[in-house]
Structure formats: structure tokens, C-alpha cells
Symmetry: C2
Subunit: 596 residues, 2 copies
């Protein structure tokens, strides 16, 4: 069975040293945080995920979910594990204390999510979707709706779903057909079919609150006519007890490449009773206000699964003997050297490691921005944080899941033939994480969001702010000889990004299709530059710790060496990405349909 070592030391480093979260006193609630509390919480999550969730990952994949008599049965052990998850209070971490939550910031919740996803992505999706439903009602629901649903969603006793997709309408929600008809008393009767509904039905909780996008009778066409409804599996009585079953059901389970332990349902609504969440025709807005958070959650999946895949590939590479180093025998006492002597094995592992650690730091930064949006005492700072988080959302979702998938493929490759059979667990990681590139907006949609919306909106204000932060970092370290390799790498990447941005801006006025063609390499270029920025900050922090005479010199030296590798290996890619954007975009747009 795969092992998992929760990266607790890395969390401490990011929280305490890199992001200084214990000094963020102008963020509401941060004054209650300290390292002891944070360590205890993250240690608790580490124990729960490693002891309870990890052992159910392979068996959950093998057994999968079953649809029996219209009800979904989750894999053996899931029900008991979920019960404990609720009892231990892990569902409540970042929720509003008014409804029973612990009010912890995203920057803690994000790392808790990483551990959950790493150990059992399919299982982690049940509380993950619940949190989305919680947020939608928390932000947009009426007081009555909040009173009705939030406490149970916070505790995890009830779970939630997001019902967006229909078979003909995925990305393009304007095409939605599900209908909502007023049924008196501010109730609505919802009818239609939704597909790809994660956690759509299951046996983990006594009720499921479905958030459903549908059209009211008087709705304008397109996305401006979509409303959001809360539609419970069982109707809820005035006293909070469960009433009769609503007229909705899971009519099918999708047969998927991976995440077999999560129930991906076809949901049929047959006049099911629901209530509006937010205003009529404003459903898309209600869904999208938590988009930054939801997409960070998917990005975290890319990191979590990539990290556990790396951890196991590293163990395998150290244990497995095969061949000899090109430079001569390294382990004469053995019949062969370990895989780790081989350059290409090292290349793959270092690529994963430097991606994972850099991404973890970036995820912390993104979560902190989201916390600033909600908690900053200065509204201007909150607004700026919101713009930065919006800018980086396609990066943490699209770039991170693309590269996280590749990292899992590399980790599988380290195992050779053993990576292809399910016994070692590596092929499951590749199958599971593949979905993260697709759901919550395909990565192509993320790239388009980056170039079409985030980059060009508000005259590129967010990018200007972030570029200023990059330049300031470069300036601050310009005279520090020890920082030279990192600064040089960051400047290289940022230079390519700046030129590519120029191309995008020019293209937007010439032919907007060009920016679509350029969007994916641009997102990858942006992502690498963002990680180069994080690694430069990591290097600066690590050098400072070493200069201060830390007792953990190995930890910081390893960070510096990994940062150096990131710059020389990942940093090499930015030039070609820029070149690709500049030279191939027109060819992509001009290619005649008949020539495909």
C-alpha cells in the first residue's frame, strides 16, 4: 500500500516563515492563530487522513460505488470513515462559528484539503462538494435558508452537491434546459436531468442538499436567465426534522476512468421542491462568487495527488535495484545500484519535487489572498487581494492540475511495469487526477479565463500589481550575491511572460481568436513564472534562516538546491512557450476547417 508522510514541516515553513501568517494582525481572526494551534490541527488532519482515509483509497477504487434500487452504496469502509470524520469535527474547520464552524482561515483549510486529497481523493470529494454548497448558501442564501441548512452542512451530518451540467451543456451554461416552476410559498418545482453530479447520491449522510441551476418560466435567454435552487433529497420540516422524500433521484452512475469511490450521478428532478438561493436569474453569479475558492480546491487535488505519487516513487527509486550508474558502481554490496543513481529517474523525481513544493507555497499564497478578501481590515487591501486571487485562480486550477497530472505520470514511470498494474497504486493516481484537468471548468476554459478575462480586465490592474511585487522582490535581492541564481531565473521567466503578455494585448485588438490560440501556452508560462516567484521567496527565506544559524541547516539547504533545480529545469521552458505563442497562434487561427 502506498505510504504517506504529511508534509507538516513544509506547512510550518510556509505558514510561519514564508507567509508570516502569525503576524497578519490586520486580518480578522488571525490574532487567534499561533503555531501551536495550527500544528495541532494539521497534525490531527494528518493522523486522520493517514490512518483512516489512506487505507480506503485502493479498495474504494476497486470496489467503486453501486446503484442499487435507486440508491447509491459507497465502497466498504467509507460510511464508517465519514461518520468518524463528522464526529471528529474535521468538516467544520473553516466554517462560520455562527453555524458551528471553527472559523479557521483558508490558509489552514487549504493544507487540510491537500492531505485529504492526497490520501483519498474520491472520499475527500464528499466533504469538498458539501463545502461548496455551504459557501453558496452562506453567501447568497436567505436567513431562513441559512437556518435550515447551514448547521447540518457545517457539521457534515448533511452533505451537498452542485448540479450544473446537462448532457448537451457543460462549459456553456447558456444552453441549460432544467426548469423551475413557482409552487407557492416561495417554493419551486424543479424538473430536468443533470449529469456528472459528484456525490449526487450516497449512503454517508441522512440528507443531501442539491444546489441546482435551472430556468424560471419568465427567464431571459442565455446565462442571464439561470437561477440557483437548494433542493434537498428529503424535505426538511419546520422543526428541522426530515420529512418526506423529494421527487428526485439518481438514475445512473457514470463509469469513469477514476475516482471510483466518488458517486458521479445522473440526477433526475421530477418537480422536486426547492428554494431560491440568491435572486432570481442571478444563479450564475451565485455559483461564481465562490469560484476562486472552488477552483483552488481542484488545484489542491493536483498538488495532493502529485505529492503522494512523488513520495512513493521516491521510496521505490531508493529501494529498487536495477542496473549500474553510468559513472561506475555506486552500491558494490548489492547486485545492482538503486534506481536513484540514474539521471533520468532523478530528473523525473526532481521535476515532481520542485513542482510540488513550489506549488504548495503558491497555494498558501493564494489561500492567504482569499483570507485577505474576507478578513482584511482595509477594504482597499481586500479589493487588491481579490483581484490577485482572481488573476491566479486559473493558474492554481489549470496550470497546477495540468502539471500535477504530468507529475503523476512521471511517478508512475519510475515504477516501470509495476507502475502499470494496480497493485502498487500508481496507476490509480494517474486515473484519479485526470478529472481535475476537466471539472470545475476545463483547463482550456481556465486558460481562456486568464487571457480573456483576468489579464485584460480593469486594464490589467491585477497583473500590474503582481508584476510590481515581482520587481520589488528582484530589487530587494539584487545586491545579494547568494540570491543571484534565483533572481536570474525569475528575471528570465518574468521577461518571457512580459513579452508574451504584450503579444496577447496586441492580439486582442487585432483578432480575438488569436488570444484563444495562445491561451494555453500562456497559462503554462504564467504558471512557471509564478512558481519561480515563489521559489525565489523560498530561497530568500532559506538563506536568511541559514545566515541566522538555524539548527535545521539540511532543511533549508535542500530548499535552496531544489530552488536552483527549479530555475535551471522548469525555467528553461519559458523561452519556448513564449516562442510558441508568438509564432504559432496565427497558424492555429488560420487553419481551414476542411484541412483538419
Amino acid at each position: 500500500m502506498p505510504i504517506y508522510q504529511a508534509p507538516l514541516r513544509d506547512y510550518q515553513f510556509i505558514l510561519s516563515e514564508l507567509l508570516n501568517v502569525y503576524q497578519q494582525t490586520d486580518l480578522r481572526g488571525f490574532d487567534e492563530l499561533d503555531a501551536d494551534l495550527t500544528d495541532a490541527i494539521l497534525q490531527g488532519v494528518a493522523d486522520f487522513t493517514t490512518d483512516i482515509m489512506l487505507p480506503l483509497n485502493a479498495s474504494g477504487d476497486l470496489e467503486g460505488c453501486k446503484l442499487v434500487d435507486g440508491k447509491v452504496i459507497t465502497p466498504s469502509g467509507f460510511k464508517q470513515a465519514y461518520k468518524q470524520y463528522v464526529e471528529d469535527g474535521w468538516a467544520t474547520l473553516t466554517c462560520d462559528p455562527e453555524f458551528g464552524g471553527q472559523g479557521l482561515p483558508e490558509v489552514i483549510g487549504t493544507f487540510a484539503t491537500e492531505m485529504k486529497t492526497a490520501t483519498n481523493m474520491a472520499f475527500a470529494m464528499y466533504p469538498g462538494l458539501t463545502h461548496g454548497a455551504y459557501s453558496a448558501i452562506h453567501v447568497h442564501g436567505s436567513d431562513a435558508l441559512k437556518q435550515k441548512y447551514l448547521a447540518k452542512l457545517v457539521s457534515g451530518e448533511w452533505t451537498g452537491t452542485m448540479n450544473l451540467t446537462e448532457s448537451h451543456a457543460g462549459t456553456d451554461l447558456a444552453l441549460l434546459r432544467t426548469k423551475a416552476v413557482p409552487a407557492g410559498d416561495e417554493l419551486f418545482a424543479i424538473s430536468g436531468e443533470k449529469i456528472f453530479i459528484s456525490s449526487g447520491d450516497h449512503d454517508l449522510a441522512e440528507n443531501i442538499i442539491h444546489l441546482v441551476l435551472a430556468r424560471l418560466p419568465d427567464a431571459p435567454e442565455g446565462v442571464k436567465g439561470i437561477s440557483l435552487f437548494a433542493v434537498p433529497k428529503f424535505l426538511v420540516n419546520a422543526d428541522g426534522s426530515l420529512g418526506e422524500a423529494n421527487t428526485l433521484s439518481a438514475t445512473g452512475l457514470e463509469h469513469k476512468m477514476g475516482i471510483h469511490g466518488n458517486s458521479t450521478c445522473v440526477m433526475h428532478f421530477d418537480g422536486a421542491i426547492g428554494e431560491l438561493v440568491g435572486a432570481a436569474h442571478q444563479g450564475l453569479k451565485a455559483m461564481f462568487t465562490m469560484m476562486n475558492q472552488a477552483r483552488l480546491g481542484v488545484g489542491i487535488q493536483g498538488l495532493g495527488v502529485s505529492d503522494i505519487a512523488y513520495q512513493n516513487a521516491l521510496v521505490y527509486a531508493k529501494d529498487r535495484i536495477q542496473g549500474r550508474a553510468l559513472s561506475g558502481v555506486k552500491q558494490p554490496e548489492k547486485a545492482a545500484d538503486s534506481l536513484l543513481v540514474h539521471g533520468d529517474i532523478r530528473r523525473m523525481l526532481l521535476s515532481q519535487k520542485s513542482f510540488n513544493e513550489g506549488t504548495r507555497a503558491l497555494m498558501g499564497q493564494q489561500a492567504l489572498w482569499l483570507d485577505q478578501v474576507e478578513r482584511h481590515a482595509d477594504p482597499e487591501k481586500a479589493k487588491q487581494a481579490n483581484a490577485l486571487a482572481a488573476l491566479f485562480t486559473p493558474i492554481v486550477k489549470g496550470f497546477v492540475t495540468d502539471q500535477g497530472f504530468k507529475a503523476c505520470v512521471d511517478a508512475q514511470q519510475v515504477y516501470g511495469g509495476h507502475g502499470y498494474i494496480n497493485e502498487w497504486g500508481m496507476e490509480q493516481y494517474v486515473r484519479d487526477i485526470r478529472i481535475a484537468m476537466i471539472y470545475e471548468g476545463t483547463n482550456g476554459v481556465q486558460a481562456l479565463d486568464l487571457v480573456g478575462r483576468k489579464l485584460l480586465s480593469d486594464k490589467g490592474a491585477a497583473l500590474t500589481v503582481w508584476s510590481g511585487m515581482v520587481k520589488q522582490l528582484i530589487q530587494e535581492n539584487a545586491s545579494n550575491e547568494a540570491m543571484k541564481p534565483y533572481i536570474a531565473g525569475l528575471m528570465d521567466a518574468a521577461g518571457d511572460l512580459e513579452k508574451a503578455t504584450g503579444f496577447i494585448v496586441q492580439s486582442a485588438s487585432k483578432n480575438p481568436d488569436l488570444i484563444g490560440a495562445a491561451s494555453m501556452p500562456y497559462m503554462q508560462l504564467f504558471g512557471i513564472t509564478a512558481l519561480a516567484w515563489m521559489w525565489t521567496r523560498v530561497a530568500a527565506t532559506s538563506l536568511a534562516a541559514l545566515e541566522a544559524g538555524t539548527e535545521e541547516a539540511e532543511f533549508y539547504q535542500a530548499k535552496l538546491n531544489t530552488a536552483k533545480f527549479f530555475m535551471s529545469y522548469w525555467g528553461s521552458q519559458t523561452r519556448s512557450l513564449r516562442k510558441q505563442i508568438e509564432s504559432s497562434s496565427a497558424d492555429i487561427v488560420d487553419f481551414a476547417e476542411a484541412d483538419f
Copy 2:
């Protein structure tokens, strides 16, 4: 169900116009080839694969193989389909006429294999492995062995396997433990356990001839003590009839990520009777003489599966409506535009298309070199072809399966959520083709073979010959204005490859571990340059056809447009690959084990 259009027009183009196979009169047997014969054969394979093999691909994946009472049962329909495959004579195409084969060249056989692999990779592996066993016995077996086995292997009535891997020994065959003990009459008793044995047992044929690597009692240690044995499932009587069952069996079936329709067995040999193939202790040599051919076969899988994935993704992109073009509505009569208007969808499809068509041309070239090795009237030319085929073997296996896998992932991405469920067939392509990056030598081993063996052997003679061919092509077209974009792209790539080669050569003398670290980006750089070379030749051929006033102007114009895209998109990558080699190799080698 996925569709398949056999690329027959592309085969004609490559055979007749690009490679001029009908004018290769100094190749034994090529004088009997003509376009009518070739077209008829390839059309026959196209019909068989599309009508018989394709419908069994998804069901074979879903049902998989079963091990019941020590016997493997293949998925429903496989047995009947295989019977027809044998009866129609498709097994015999490239085999020796002396044993019932049709004596067709590899350049035809390779394209037949592409269609088989595209339509049903798991099924195609049964005859694929048989052909490997046929070749080993044909080249190295005694006359008695040939008489005993070849006719039945050629017809396909019996099938074959390759038994190399043991659980502790994959790449490093020096660690093998399976034993062979003389048992009189030039017979040997083989004992040991082999894993990952494709087609190890099944119900398609009445006998299976296992080629097994094992050690004789007096064998020297390491790879110089390995011998190859032919070990039948059923012993064969002097009159050719089947005798008693040999003491061997499939004791397990691997549970794999994909190729579920092919039986991947754990094989147990318990004093099973076998005969030497080739000389004692020369088993590895016997296995490796057909390595160029076997690895081309795996590369063809990368192409075949990538092509059917592309074909279906293109159909989907044209049919599926979702969103509107950035430059404005393109299909006002519909509720949304087709996916094909979106730049990133086009980018993915063009990346696949230009890879597939360029690779198909390269596969034809490689097959023609293999034909020259066997058939060229001039031994010097045969020798040179052998060196070129050996140089390109890691490219056609390693580069092509790496990129073919990525192409399948892109094709899956075009489908959005529908790509993740098995209903549409795309996720199966990703799972199936993943093995091609691992078996027949992992792609890391291919990269090492390229830099460690092929590049530096014989003072780089093969590379020098090929570089000369590239330079000649550039020179020949230097004054042709219409060829400029292609020539510029080829020169760019070749320049990066030359500099990277210089780095490798220098590194070899400094620290051999460096070339291991540089090997994978070098293989990718080499592969892109090889495709740029093929696309330049395709462009020259297409321009000539257009100048000659062809009636199929659309076909040739599409080739030119695709060539242009290849240069601007794929060609952009070579600079960074070179940079990566130069700047990160030392970091990879120097990274301390403790810092991982």
C-alpha cells in the same frame, strides 16, 4: 462507438510519393510491389480491422481476460475474430514465403500494424507477440526448430510470447534467476517465474510457443550467462501433432490500467521442456537482434492509438456546440458554435494531427531502413541502413509513445467531462497507450540507449550520415522560395540538436552521469528534429505535386498547412529542450540523495 477511417490516402502518399517504394529496385522483392497490390492489401486490413477488431475494443476492455482453472479466457468475440484473422491470412503478411508467409516488406507490415493497433491494441498484441517469436526462431533457431514451429507461427494457428521479466528484474536482465537444466537430446528443463507476460495464456490458439530467457548451470554471471529457449505450451510430436501439456502454466493475471483484452500473465515454469534458440549464453543477443523491429512495433502503437483518438476528437469538436468564437458568432443558425471555433481546441487537434502525420511518415522511413537491412543488394547500403535504423529506434519507440500518450490525453480533453467516462471510449485510449511508454524498454531506457549507445557508438557515424541527409535536403531546397518556412524550421531544430549533441559528447568524457540526466530532453529534441525533417520532405513533395497540377490540390495544400503549423508549434520547443539539457543536467547529477 468510436469511428475509424483507415488513413489509406496517407499510406499511398508515403509509399508512392514520399519514399518511392515502387522504385526501390535494388531491394530484393520490391520489384513485385506495385500500388495496386499495396492498395488492395492495405484496404483488406482496413476492412478487417474496422469491421471486426474495432467493435471488440470497448467490450474487450470492459470484460477483460479471466483466469479460470489455470486457463485464460479472452473477452467475448476475440476467439471468433482471431479465427477469421488466421483464415484471412493477415498473420502471414511479412513472413518468409518458405514457411507460408507472403514475404511483404516491413514498410507494408508497419502500416498494417498501425491499423490493427488503432482499432484494438489489446487484440493486436496477440499476433504482435507471435511475430516476435517467429522472428527470433527465424533468425536464430536451428533448422529443426524452424521446421517444428515456423509454419504454425506464420499462419497464426499457434501464437508466441516473450518471457523476459522477473519480479525483481525488469530492465536489468543480469539479475535473472530462471534456470535451464540439460535434460538430454538437446532438451532442457526450465524452472522459474516470469511476470508481465503479454498473451502468456489464452484461448485463441491451440498452442503457444514461449520464448524464455534462463540461465544454464555453467552460465557466467550477468547478461553474458543468459540463454534463450523455445518452450511450448503443448509438446510437439515428431509428426507435428500436439503431445502432452508441458509443465508450465499461467498462475496469475495482472490487474492493469489498460489493455484489459490482452492477457498479461504470471508464468510459472516447473521443469518445462524447451530447446535452445541460438547458442548457449547468447540469449540476450538473440532477443536483441529483433529489437529494432519490436520497438518500431511499440512505436506504431503510439501512432495508431493517437490517430484514432484524434479522428474521434475531431468529429466531436465539429459536432459539439458550446460557446461562441471570441471573434464573434460563427454559426448563427445554432444555439452555440462548434468546439472547433475555439483556439485551444484547434491547438490540441493540430498538435495531434501534425504529430500523427509526421510520425506516420517517419515510421515509413524507419520500416524502409529495416527493409534495406534485410534486402539491399549492396551490403554497404544495408549496413548504413542498419546504423540509421538503430539510431532511430529509440526515437520511434520512446519519443513517439511519449508524445502519442500526450496526444491521447489532449484528445480526451477535447471531450471535456465526456472524455472521462468510458462511454465515449477516449479514456480507454489513454489507459491503453500508457503501457507503450513502459514495455519493450521504458522510455528512459530508450533515451539512455540513444545517448549512451547509438549517439556515441562508432564515433557517431550514424548521426553523421543522417546529419548529412538533413543538410542535403536543406541545400536542395535553399533556393526554393516556397520551401523557406519549412527549411527555416528544420534548420532551427537541427541547430539546437547539433548544440545539444555537442553537450552530450563533452559530458561523456567529463561525467557520464550527465548524459543520463540529459537523455530524455535530448530524445525529445531529436524526435522533434526528426519530424521536422519528415515534414520538410512532405512539404517538398507536396509543392512538387501542386506545381505539377495535381487534381488533389486540397490534399497537398492541407499537408503544407500542417507542415507550417508543425514548424511554428512543435518547432518552438527545441530551444528550451536544448537549454534544459545545458543548464539542468549538472543540477540533476549533483542533487544530494538526502535532499530528495
